[in-house]
Symmetry: C3
Subunit: 180 residues, 3 copies
């Protein structure tokens, strides 16, 4: 599981309240600390977007162009304005259900509420995109569940030439993979 | 996990044999007992429908208009007439994969056959819809796996104004969420 | 879990290198041994196809016409040429998420990399189709996780009259089930 080489990591905070400045985000510092402790790179300052599907999708696309790993936090639940999974599916070419399952399985041991997460993970261009919950504790719990495999996944994807823009309007299930 | 306030619960029994009176349903009494013991409301008398996709979908839509939680039992397997998951996807706006995963993970500890369940859970209007297997034991096992989170999920959804009818013909994955 | 009667099993090896003869497949012998030890039939000699979506889909369709259980090995990961899940979805009428979840849950205990598998399982005609990873160890690990339920699943499906060809271009989620 040791993964020496570092890679750029982007974090997107999805929150209406944080986006309009009504609440300071407390999740990014915790995620940054966890990533550093794990020997991965410290992420750049997060982008904060409201719970709007198109803005979230655009933020993921832009982040995927410069980072190898894109983490979103927030908007994964069942409240009406929770649309991060939909926005993520708008821009990923392939879904990785195993990462979502692993996060929920780990989180479920701590709280039954984990099962309400609709978080998805997938591939946007050559970047790995992973949805995390909004709460600091939930986000860290879920990130920890997949940390051991992120370096390997990024290595696999970095061999990829992909056009994330072109994928934007195609659904993951219907998308033709790059390599054909 | 304590959830004091009660909310209306509807149960739909999906079974060709029960619908034509060839067999008495034995699952509803067990589910009702389990719900009451858990401090939730006793469900109204169940509606019984045959394994027909459109009839199941219509029953879920109607139940979602009056109940906060809609449980179906039966039709989740791989036999040709098992179509409850398809019918459910016809009427839900959002799928909640964590609930299905939790039910299968719990049920798998008792029987390998749990993995053949294609049960889904999701949101229809402001109601939470959960598919359960047809057998009394399987249905109770699966319900128990998600019971701790149902009250919280219902609370989250009750804030929602939603038009379930309009969602009926749209696929969960493509549907625009209400809140935008 | 005892399942006396035997049924025909087909294995498809998905690998660019094996297909062009650059590498001998080492997974089939291990799968064959595991199936025999479990009291199931020894599979016929495997078909080997490159990582091409249409060739994989065609191989699954053909195998489903003569076998009750079709196992694929390879092409389930996240590398650009891994397209076995997409090819499988092209030809199955129904997906069985519980089998994929069970395989990943079992495999996850051995390696975090299990979560990168996008393997799917489903029904093509009257055959059960299960994607397995390409490595001998991964393939056996995953097969073992679902072995106890395969006989029962095949029994359920064998009652089915289905036209696999007609399903080829329809997506599993949208497909009308046979039995209506």
């Amino acid at each position: 599981m040791s993964h020496a080489p570092s890679f750029p990591i982007a974090v997107i905070i999805v929150s209406d309240r944080a986006a309009r400045g009504a609440r300071a985000d407390q999740t990014f510092p915790r995620l940054a600390e966890l990533l550093e402790k794990s020997g991965l790179a410290r992420p750049a300052a997060p982008r904060v977007v409201p719970d709007e599907r198109e803005q979230i999708a655009a933020a993921i696309r832009e982040a995927s162009a410069r980072a190898a790993l894109v983490l979103t936090s927030g908007g994964t639940g069942i409240a009406p304005r929770d649309v991060t999974p939909e926005a993520t599916r708008d821009v990923i070419a392939r879904e990785l259900p195993g990462l979502s399952e692993a996060m929920r399985a780990a989180s479920r041991r701590n709280t039954a509420f984990a099962d309400l997460s609709r978080a998805v993970a997938g591939v946007c261009g050559a970047a790995l995109v992973v949805n995390l919950p909004g709460s600091p504790r939930g986000a860290c719990e879920c990130l920890e569940a997949v940390l051991p495999v992120l370096g390997h996944a990024v290595d696999l994807l970095r061999g990829t030439v992909a056009d994330c823009q072109a994928e934007a309007s195609r659904h993951a299930r219907d998308a033709e993979p790059e390599g054909e």
